[in-house]
């Protein structure tokens, strides 16, 4: 309830500032008003090109993020279980991790034959490390008494891995997925602004070049909504995967 009120106040202040073209160091002269944005949104909703932009971005997220999960989760689980693997892979991770995914853009364009692939690659990179690090963390904090209990009940190596290490790490893995999804969007939007054709990040940047100021705000809001929706989807998935209530 209070949330709705604060949102309403936010929009009202926005309306006031833009309608009056307020200037106090920060300039609201060219900033579109909520009304204008709404009008553009209705227009965009009827324009299939806008839908294409959204679809392109979502597809890139889906590919990049899914790929990152499929590689990082098993890798993290195995690294957590086998020390040798950890000692081989960890140094590489530590060196490449501090490089933001956006810094990879020029390199990615050189590496991959198509633009599309390099953008997916950037998205992949952005979400890869949060997922890997959290999976590792999850493996490191598995309660050893549960492992011993399983062995006492006759569980062999593979069963212990499947029945204890994996479910015990799931809450931390989902933390990684949530963080990874956030970083994936950050990386995607940046990559689309720099090198894209299509995509909601490209749409937002292009609006600026084409002096379509209302579309800038529309793009921003769309990005926010998509980010919110995808982190909600991850939470939902977490609830389904962990019915015992670890994902509160």
């Amino acid at each position: 309830m209070l949330g709705l009120v604060s949102l309403a106040v936010f929009i009202a202040v926005w309306q006031l500032l833009t309608v009056n073209h307020a200037i106090f160091y920060v300039r609201f002269t060219n900033v579109p008003s909520p009304e204008e944005v709404l009008a553009r949104a209705i227009l965009a909703a009827h324009n299939p090109v806008f839908g294409d932009h959204i679809w392109m971005s979502c597809r890139r997220i889906l590919y990049g993020f899914t790929l990152a999960s499929v590689v990082a989760i098993p890798l993290g689980l195995l690294m957590g279980r086998f020390r040798i693997l950890r000692e081989i892979v960890f140094p590489i991770c530590e060196v490449t991790r501090p490089i933001p995914a956006i810094a990879w853009v020029p390199m990615a364009i050189m590496l991959w034959p198509t633009n599309e692939e390099s953008i997916v690659f950037i998205t992949f990179l952005g979400s890869f490390f949060p997922i890997l690090i959290n999976t590792l963390q999850g493996m490191a904090t598995v309660d050893p008494v549960l492992v011993r209990a399983a062995r006492c009940l006759g569980a062999k190596e593979a069963s212990v891995f499947r029945e204890v290490y994996l479910p015990a790490s799931l809450p931390q893995i989902f933390t990684g997925l949530t963080v990874g999804m956030g970083v994936a969007w950050v990386s995607l939007i940046a990559a689309e602004m720099i090198s894209g054709q299509f995509g909601i990040g490209y749409f937002t940047w292009e609006a600026y070049s084409l002096v379509q100021y209302s579309d800038i705000a529309l793009g921003m809001i769309t990005i926010g909504v998509l980010g919110l929706a995808s982190s909600f989807a991850i939470r939902l998935l977490g609830r389904l995967a962990m019915p015992w209530g670890a994902a509160r």
């Binding site: 309660d143 549960l146 011993r148 209990a149 062995r151 009940l153 006759g154 479910p167 209530g245």
Partner: protein, 286 residues
């Protein structure tokens, strides 16, 4: 193996050294003990004397540095569902319901789903846990968790049950109930039990025999037979026989606890205090 396999535990001159960065630590030295098939035996001793170490060797997590540890004449080569273990920390799998926890051992040995379910339901019924079968462990009280833990360990039909201070974290009331449940299950299933505790009353109330261990490096200080008849009733804890056993055990353990603390405190200086404490203790019991 079947037929003759009845859960005879034999420990001969068992030694265990932990290799640490500061060098080898002798945790247990020259322990010999046995548990006869169907017997209930307790180990008491000051903390750090190697009780858990001994149990872990029996479970198959540690290899003896010296001596032999056998069950029914066979050396232990690793953990097995033949030897159930209950830990002091709650060890139910949080991601499995009560029934799935109980089924775990059977699942590992390849029992079919329907058969697993049937056996788990029967056992849960015996332990009065039927209404909780679909609960996740985080919804259970501490006593209930340990009860499920015991049922889970018994589900695979082990020959022996090892318990490492299983009721240490429970309140006095719950503890009494758990002792009763454990006694019932033990009598019904006729398996051998080796029970580690720091609670003297608990040891006397439950056991046929009690081993007292010395401070590190742990060895067996003495062996006490508990001649109290069965079934044991809570009122027996007030009998002169019980109190006599208790007094004897307490003085044995007090000596060791002082030794475990480094022995700087002389026994004489503590005597007055100890007698006072004992009086107080008895008053609360009575």
């Amino acid at each position: 193996m079947a037929g003759t396999a009845r859960g005879l535990i034999e420990v001969q001159d068992f030694c265990l050294r932990y290799e640490t960065m500061e060098g080898a630590v002798e945790a247990v030295s020259d322990v010999s003990l046995n548990v006869q098939p169907g017997e209930f035996v307790s180990i008491v001793g000051p903390s750090g004397c190697g009780k858990s170490t001994l149990l872990n060797a029996l479970a198959g997590f540690l290899t003896p540095s010296g001596g032999t540890v056998t069950v029914d004449g066979e050396a232990i080569s690793g953990p097995s569902a033949d030897r159930g273990m209950i830990f002091q920390q709650y060890s139910l799998f949080p991601w499995k319901t009560v029934r799935e926890n109980v089924e775990f051992g059977l699942k590992m040995s390849g029992v079919s789903r329907s058969e697993r379910e049937r056996r788990a339901r029967t056992l849960l019924g015996l332990a009065g846990l039927t209404q909780f079968e679909n609960h996740y462990p985080d919804r259970l009280s501490g006593g209930m968790k340990q009860r499920v833990g015991i049922v889970r360990a018994l589900a695979t039909g082990p020959r022996i049950l090892l318990l490492d201070e299983p009721f240490g974290a429970l309140d006095a009331q719950t503890r009494l109930i758990m002792q009763q449940i454990l006694t019932n299950m033990w009598q019904r299933l006729k398996i051998s039990v080796l029970f580690v505790t720091h609670d003297i009353d608990e040891a006397i109330f439950l056991s046929d025999r009690i081993y007292v261990m010395t401070a590190r490096p742990g060895t067996i200080k003495s062996e006490i037979v508990v001649p109290l008849p069965r079934p044991r009733e809570p009122s027996m804890t007030l009998s002169s026989e019980f109190l006599g056993l208790r007094r004897g055990l307490m003085s044995l353990i007090r000596e060791e606890s002082i030794r475990a603390m480094g022995g700087e405190v002389s026994l004489d200086s503590l005597k007055g205090l100890a007698i006072n404490l004992e009086g107080q203790d008895l008053a609360t019991v009575l």
